[in-house]
């Protein structure tokens, strides 16, 4: 009589432990979805828009992209995706049908995200309320309107690979590099692009004057005149928390939304790690 009861108790403990491990993964995933900046692009504009249900337009020289719905709705969202589908999207830039993504989805940066981080993000996204929200087809220039063009672009400009920490750098630097280069994909806006929209890696974080929607992103390399070289690590942390520059003025527009939904949600340690990395990259003069 004692043994079956013990068995039940053990099972209950195991179930509870499993449930709490799952909860921990989901809440870690929520944090990573913020750090990954998913919300800004995958949420339509306007106060009524449902977070992560897609539909935001992105006007580029190549046409207009519409962000997809990434809630777990089985038909209009990602509800049918397997773990492998999710990993391939981020690591290889390929959708579950095997088609290539356009680099409007920043898989060029996301390819560095670890497996366990991606699966935590998926676990969180799959906990969201499924929203049936079909989003418009991309409206692109004829010469890139086939996804084969995206494949050709990838052959020239994309290499799949996870982030490898640098042994001779501090833990904070490595964490910052992971957040800036991969999860937070800062360079997708702040690094200039060359022919056909390829990121110019030799000009890391030197700013981009020709952004989608007519936006521009400033030079955030440590150049004292053209970049943010006068900002201390603490100044950068303070900015990422509340969106106020060291001169007391605030940021606005896209970066304001990014501070709200991404960097202000991070731990202070992670913001300091980002700042540590930003201070370490080569100073880039303006062009």
């Amino acid at each position: 009589m004692r043994f079956p009861m013990l068995g039940t108790a053990t099972a209950a403990v195991l179930v509870a432990a499993f449930a709490s491990a799952e909860e921990a993964e989901v809440s870690r995933g929520e944090y990573l979805v913020h750090a990954g900046g998913c919300i800004v692009c995958h949420t339509d504009e306007g106060k009524q828009a449902i977070p992560l249900a897609g539909g935001r337009s992105l006007e580029t020289p190549f046409g207009t992209f519409y962000s997809p719905n990434i809630t777990p709705d089985p038909t209009t969202g990602i509800g049918e995706w397997t773990d492998e589908d999710f990993l391939s999207a981020f690591w290889e830039g390929v959708n579950p049908d095997g088609d290539h993504y356009y680099p409007a989805f920043p898989f060029t940066s996301y390819t560095g995200i670890s497996r366990e981080d991606l699966l935590a993000m998926k676990a969180y996204l799959f906990r969201l309320e499924p929203v049936a929200n079909p989003t418009p087809e991309h409206d692109l220039a004829l010469y890139i309107s086939t996804r084969l063009a995206a494949g050709a672009w990838k052959l020239l400009n994309f290499e799949s690979g996870r982030f490898i920490p640098s042994d001779d750098r501090s833990a904070a630097w490595n964490r910052g590099a992971y957040l800036v280069r991969h999860l937070g994909h800062c360079g997708e806006c702040h690094t200039p692009r060359g022919t056909l929209g390829a990121i110019r890696n030799g000009r890391e974080l030197a700013g981009n004057q020709d952004m989608p929607d007519g936006e521009s992103a400033p030079n955030i390399s440590p150049h004292r005149i053209d970049g943010i070289g006068k900002w201390s690590v603490d100044d950068i942390e303070y900015f990422l928390d509340i969106g106020i520059r060291p001169d007391g003025d605030s940021t606005d527009s896209v970066m304001s939304a990014i501070v709200d939904s991404n960097t202000s949600k991070l731990t202070k340690e992670d913001r300091l790690a980002i700042a540590t990395y930003l201070k370490s990259v080569p100073a880039q003069p303006g062009e």
Binding site: S216, D234, P246, D247, G248
Partner: protein
């Protein structure tokens, strides 16, 4: 006759300047607004250096806080209709979405009030936190109602 005229000129100038004070030209309204905004960001920047322990004498904190409290009371009178000149960063949304703008201003005023209370008797950590709320409230207005800076 000529002498009378020349004596009148300063009087006329005075009258004109009084008129100007009553209803500034859009140009002057924009300039005045920009000055007040610069003053606020100047005090805010100094306060942030102080509360983060970077520079400045904490004994001077109260003066900067009082300046912010005074400046915030001027906000309501800064947005004269028609003063959104082409080279000014005030967006038409200020007048088009007057209710949303009023809410954002009110939110800022409340954040400054809360900060001024904490600043008079809180510890540095609480002051830092309340000051960050003021910064967020600045951004709360600028996000929708100010033209993005050309970087």
């Amino acid at each position: 006759m000529f002498k009378t005229m020349t004596r009148l000129i300063p009087l006329i100038a005075l009258a004109v300047s009084m008129l100007a004070a009553a209803e500034p030209t859009p140009e002057d309204a924009a300039k005045y607004r920009q000055s007040i905004m610069k003053a606020m960001s100047g005090h805010n920047g100094a306060i942030s250096m102080m509360v983060r322990g970077k520079a400045g004498n904490p004994d001077n904190l109260a003066g900067h806080v009082q300046a912010l409290v005074n400046l915030k009371d001027e906000i309501d009178s800064l947005f004269n209709e028609g003063s959104d000149l082409e080279d000014d960063r005030a967006l038409p949304a200020i007048w088009e979405n007057a209710d949303a703008f009023a809410d954002a201003v009110e939110n800022f005023e409340a954040a400054v009030e809360a900060f001024s209370e904490v600043a008079s008797d809180g510890g540095m950590q609480a002051i830092d936190a309340a000051q960050r709320e003021v910064g967020k409230a600045c951004k709360g207005c600028h996000e929708d109602f100010r033209q993005e800076k050309e970087d």
